[in-house]
Symmetry: C2
């Protein structure tokens, strides 16, 4: 289509994306290579770019192009690149201009302050120290939800930032079904006399050897190092700086190689999604990831459904022996059971594949109550402890291993947590369907062939960018709406034989 | 001073510098860590930022502030921070707005094209292949000089970009004096029966060991790794991304450690200047390097006057033995003679401390003749060969080891070359004065103490940024105008005993 307004809108959006991708480089560098004393100036550089990007996204000229297109764009396929572009840029403009500048500034200040206070409070193990900052943040997020508007639930307005058009009620129902089944499964595993031989995975391994192994595995599943990198950081992440520049990061635990290894597979999974988006659409909605949930579905699918399968280990085991000998002496069956270790614990980021979702569900339930006002902030630690006792059978002994463990709320990120579990659910449902559609995936994995699966995911998910909503991607790929059943089936099928359930 | 126009001008200039420093990060990353296929998009990001920076530097609002200040700024010390800021921003605005946009664009295109053709021509060893592109570039640079304006010599207008307010006639006279003496000195060395034992420095040394040694030495002379980094690249450089973020780079020759080692000292010398500029003035003229010549004076002073001295090697030798054993078996006297090896050769970037200046003088003489029109581009290879024969006694066997060896002209960099030799001259004159002002520098070097010298350079050079012109810095620090005598004395004093002259 050669409408001038469309061309102008796209060129403008691409240029905005160039600035945003430069911002991503500033942040990547800050977290990998920046000298220790350079932080203050880097914060100024980042804030300048954020301002430039915000100015462009709220430029009334964008509204003019959109208005022209509302009149002149011929009706067509709702999901084609053109309509997707116009629809999402319109959505973005509308959201960006709904928030009063004063609220945006106050939220930015409160989130910087919140993170500072949170760091102190964690050291002090004192929720009281953090409480006033959190109360202020909850208050601001309530205002934000009101300004953005919603139909059913104020939580929808915040969730929408991470899982566009997500419906809190639907997600709550799905997670509720998941929770009930998981609590039962965890109890069965805890009651089982069999214990995973986790000690088999401990032992000192040089970071350079871990890195070599991680690179081989990331490359094997399809991460393209000509279009990406792997570096070291304190809190691992994946970021994209251009259509052919996706960077993943990890950190190395010298005495427990699975930390970095599964970290690399996880980030490489994010990377496969990013590298699977169409480069020609970079910076435009059809070339952008659709939601954090779908993003997380790919990191978790490659980390867990693939990386914790016995078939994968048939391929990986000789490599692991080669890189981790003499520390790794266990046989493949032992390694397989050990990497599928399940054990209720207090810390989300250290949780296994099963209990992880209960950590998320607790946070989702609590943040909904905080935002609705049903749960006063001061009562949060007690509510936290009650839910941990109820769902996982463990109780934190102090706030730093309880409510203060995550940075999210201190940074104003409310509505973010459920996307982790949505990722697990999407991922399991995609993978179950891929197993049905594709013959003998296990055989392929066991010889290091992951192309068929990656191509399937490309066809069903990656290539579409934002052309389809998360729910549509799931429905189109699997023929059914999202359900907790595939994840449960996957977990039970794998863990029942291991734990003798 | 609290003039509103001054505050606005400074705030605006600081923000422009933030964008320029972000551009520096994009370029640093491109040359160190960027994935191989990410180049096209990176070029777009860089060109977007260049456009934003150019828009800001030519914004008529800048002119309004400057006009207001021309009327309201109280007279004061010409060299204080305020007057320096206003003077240099005025100079920059005036220069930026003198060039017609069409010429800027054509120069940019011709320089991109010129570099592409140059790469091909080098492979083909064919000057004819490069000749039309060079003719076009010379023509455009003549137009640029005319647009910028000049008093005495069109070359002044181009030199001014790298050596502000530099006078071609003065530089030519100084370099002419230097040339005559150097040709004599080189001839004496060539005629000497003594030969530097350069073979003593050859031997395979792992890059990781070379890097460790280089870091220790860079840190010893004062490069602050909390405010900087050292990384690997193909064509080493030093760049600054913020008031506390100066990054140097090197490349490792596995069979000849002095390449990377002197490369690191050279870049660390640039880094000491950058790290010695006042952080509070970052992005403003008083916090910016004054000229390429002064910059090069610091890289060369630390590389040569310090790093090739016997006193320095008393300190460095045990470290070198520790890192390079068993490849380095020669005694300290042998190492010292070997690193002061002098030998006429064809390639500038491989030249020693003495002959290097003759390579530069040849280029300076030739590019002046090209720009004046006295030398037609087609006659350049012959003129090149004649001068090499005359000054160095060597003649290239093909264009790629002759006139095609440097990228500068293909990228439109005319007026750049003399700053290399100016750096050697400034550096030698500063160092000679420092030796007079400071007692027993040699004793300090031999125990790894470089603080006194660095402090002297800070006091005389670094702290002033652009508050003084290069000539003023030299005059103020040494009490005399720039002369070729200190460099000659330094070279003769060092080389006469070694070569028995």
């Amino acid at each position: 289509m050669t409408l001038p307004a469309l061309q102008s809108l796209c060129a403008y959006a691409r240029e905005t994306a160039q600035l945003a991708s430069i911002d991503a480089l500033l942040q990547w560098d800050e977290r990998t290579y920046m000298p220790s004393l350079a932080g203050d100036y880097r914060a100024e550089q980042i804030s300048l770019l954020a301002r430039l990007v915000h100015q462009r996204r709220t430029n009334p000229q964008v509204k003019e192009w959109l208005d022209t297109l509302a009149e002149t764009l011929p009706p067509g396929d709702f999901n084609d690149d053109t309509h997707t572009t116009v629809r999402w840029i319109g959505r973005d403009y509308s959201k960006q201009t709904k928030l009063p500048a004063s609220l945006v500034e106050e939220l930015s200040r409160a989130s910087v302050k919140g993170q500072q206070v949170w760091v102190e409070a964690r050291k002090l193990r004192s929720f009281e120290h953090f409480q006033p900052a959190l109360e202020h943040l909850v208050h601001l997020k309530q205002q934000e939800a009101a300004a953005l508007g919603y139909e059913d639930d104020p939580y929808d307005a915040l969730l929408d930032e991470y899982e566009p058009y997500g419906k809190t009620q639907e997600i709550a129902a799905t997670l509720e079904g998941l929770r009930k089944e998981l609590v039962l499964l965890v109890q069965q595993i805890v009651d089982s006399p069999r214990k995973a031989p986790i000690a088999a995975l401990h032992g000192s391994v040089l970071p350079t050897r871990q890195e070599q192994f991680g690179r081989i595995m990331a490359q094997a599943i399809g991460f393209d190092f000509d279009r990406g990198r792997l570096d070291v950081t304190a809190h691992p992440f994946c970021t994209t700086l251009g259509p052919h520049d996706c960077r993943i990061t990890t950190r190395y635990n010298e005495s427990f190689f699975p930390s970095a290894f599964y970290g690399i597979l996880h980030e490489a999974g994010h990377g496969l999604y990013e590298q699977g988006l169409r480069p020609t659409q970079f910076g435009l909605p059809p070339g952008s990831a659709v939601s954090l949930g779908i993003h997380e579905s790919q990191s978790r699918l490659w980390e867990n459904q693939v990386g914790r399968s016995f078939a994968f280990w048939k391929f990986a085991y000789p490599h692991a022996r080669q890189h981790f000998a003499p520390q790794l002496t266990a046989d493949i069956e032992t390694v397989y059971f050990a990497i599928n270790h399940v054990q209720p614990s207090l810390i989300r980021v250290e949780a296994d594949e099963v209990t992880y979702n209960l950590h998320i569900i607790i946070r989702f339930e609590l943040e909904r109550e905080l935002l609705s006002g049903n749960l006063p902030v001061r009562d949060l630690p007690e509510a936290w402890a009650t839910k941990y006792q109820h769902y996982l059978g463990v109780v934190p002994s102090h706030a730093s291993e309880g409510v203060l463990q995550d940075i999210h709320w201190s940074a104003g990120l409310f509505g973010y947590f459920p996307t982790y579990s949505l990722g697990n659910l999407y991922g399991a449902q995609f993978f179950e369907q891929a197993q049905t559609d594709l013959a003998n995936l296990d055989e392929q994995f066991s010889v290091g062939n992951f192309t068929t699966l990656r191509t399937w995911l490309n066809d069903k998910v990656y290539q579409f960018g934002q052309c389809y909503m998360p729910g549509e991607l799931v429905q189109n790929a699997t023929g059914r709406p999202l359900s907790h059943a595939p994840l449960l089936r996957y977990l039970r099928n794998k863990l029942s034989p291991l734990y003798g359930l």
